[in-house]
Symmetry: C2
Subunit: 353 residues, 2 copies
């Protein structure tokens, strides 16, 4: 028999909403009870939009040949099967935006919330019971879905209140990947060489700015991006020292290009940050990092075993971190970067408005 | 067109042995060419035994109902399909023991090798072309298979020479997991609370001793183990401060037991080391670690996305590392622990002889 203390932990995590397998965490569960009626300790949010994790959205969009109607049905099928927007192929989710309609007292105090506040969940959608009445629009360009629906938040789930000085879509995009720039900023030191793979994506651009702000002029930033337009955006930020167009799934070719871009100098990173949204980029990341260096894998497409076995196979002792999206700044680092770097805000405004 | 420098990298990694998909790393490849005839830059080893990764062996043994003949056929099928001992379900391998029969000059110099040396591969079996003529015996108790066969080693693959003062089976078992104690020893500091999950396994016992040696009497070690006999072995080492019998797949129950075992004191770890050989232990590990702490996931059954999303979902900023099995000590830390801790050697002698 569980103590009342443990019963509280169970409820604060949302385990009482798990349908199968019973007793697992909501994130690990196959199916949640998504009935949009609050129980004790829960908070109800009226959901207006979902910002889907990039790896998940890309996979679903490709599976549906980027067809609006097929993708709508695909999403409704996932909700029907799982009670949450949890892509069974990629295992990843995203974040939601909505308005607080019913509010648990303890949650209100902990997060300084009132009913009617507009909030963004910082817990993955793979954790939260979600009920969708209707899908109004799909924005392929920004992995976003406009809906009418309801979500349940549990006491353990972090969230952010919507700031008033930044447009909604920009905030949503920045918060979805807020852990990467915040964690990267804590990891790097002035004087280091830092390589960002997938530098032109949302997480990549924020990370480049966070790293530059942290190291100032002491150190070197190498930005790697496959897409030509995205690389142009990286250039317009003017924060990276070396820009490389290359494919992170082709490790040896990429290493050659980076080596050439760095001319005669050493090209291996002290810290590499992987924010690529496709699989099979572990090898390139390890190959571009010093054996005594450190890698932050933020891509949800990272394979744990591939990373461990490749490092072992090529005899590199590199330290590899699993990108943990939670940082106690609740996204404020990312939002401040949008204020501090006008060029970054310009790119976000173009991409997400 | 690749430069000759890059052609050398390709060969030193063994990419020329990949059959499908072409251009991938041997570890990531579905199938390797396992023809036991050396080409330029390769080294040929006459293989006597395979020490299979614990997650892989457990999965295969269960799939074959621990039947010798079925498991032999299952292993031969994998070799036939893949040209390497690479379990398609777990994605993991193990190590091999054998005698050098044909030797590349550069590899000989780098590793101080001569023909006739008995060696243990420190590269995962998932990387190495392996040809099996015959399987002589399967040792369920120590995840070991005695064979007649041949393996190809590439220039980038680390290995260890067999020491003369320790029995073969003990060395093999210790080197298979040598990265865990070596890396844990570098990570922990005197004064910390260190929790080892799966403490009674091979990696767990070595890690406990390595951590105790590093922190001396300054700090606290919590050892968690599910199996009663294995927990008895942990007790006989006399290096852990708190012993807990518990199931790491049942996070909330385990947290309660650990909390009780630590009485009124704090029970959260500064550093947790996960060397459990079953899946779904990420939640327990995160729940038992301070949000400002660090986790070393050494279990090959770890899910990257589960770890990232659980930490995010319960709002823990914990640093999580992918256990990289390669350390430049080439296993000497582990072998020295067997000499420094007679009780450890006694357990190894019982388990692996």
């Amino acid at each position: 028999m569980l103590s009342s203390h443990n019963q509280d932990i169970l409820r604060s995590l949302g385990i009482h909403r798990v349908i199968e397998p019973l007793g697992s965490l909501p994130q690990a569960a196959w199916k949640l009870n998504n009935t949009p009626v609050v129980q004790h300790s829960e908070t109800l949010v009226e959901v207006h939009a979902l910002h889907i994790d990039s790896a998940s959205f890309t996979q679903m969009a490709n599976a549906c040949d980027r067809d609006h109607e097929r993708l709508k049905r695909h999403i409704m099928d996932i909700i029907h099967q799982r009670g949450k927007m949890h892509n069974p192929v990629t295992g990843s989710g995203g974040v939601l935006i909505g308005v607080v309609r019913e509010l648990d007292d303890l949650y209100a105090t902990a997060n300084k919330l009132t009913i009617g506040d507009t909030i963004i969940s910082l817990t993955s959608l793979s954790w939260l019971p979600l009920y969708i009445e209707n899908i109004h629009a799909i924005h392929f360009d920004r992995s976003e879905i406009e809906i009418t629906g309801s979500a349940i938040l549990f006491r353990s789930n972090p969230l952010a209140k919507m700031p008033t000085d930044l447009p909604r879509n920009i905030v949503l995009a920045a918060l979805d990947v807020a852990g990467a720039p915040s964690r990267a900023s804590q990891l790097v030191q002035p004087g280091q060489r830092i390589t960002v793979l997938g530098a032109g994506g949302t997480a990549g651009l924020l990370t480049l700015c966070a790293v530059r702000q942290r190291i100032g002029s002491q150190g070197e930033i190498i930005a790697i991006e496959y897409n030509e337009q995205a690389l142009h955006d990286v250039a317009s930020l003017n924060v990276a020292d070396v820009l490389v167009r290359g494919n992170a799934t082709q490790a040896l070719e990429l290493a050659k290009i980076v080596q050439e871009a760095c001319s005669a100098r050493d090209y291996l990173a002290d810290v590499a940050i992987n924010v690529v949204n496709v699989p099979h980029t572990e090898f390139a990341t390890i190959l571009l990092t010093k054996p005594q260096g450190c890698i932050l894998f933020f891509s949800m497409a990272t394979s744990f075993t591939a990373a461990a076995l490749i490092a072992e196979g090529i005899a590199s002792q590199v330290e590899m971190q699993i990108g943990n999206g939670y940082m106690p700044d609740s996204g404020t680092t990312s939002l401040q970067l949008l204020r501090d770097f006008p060029a970054l805000r310009t790119i976000f405004a173009r991409r997400f408005n």
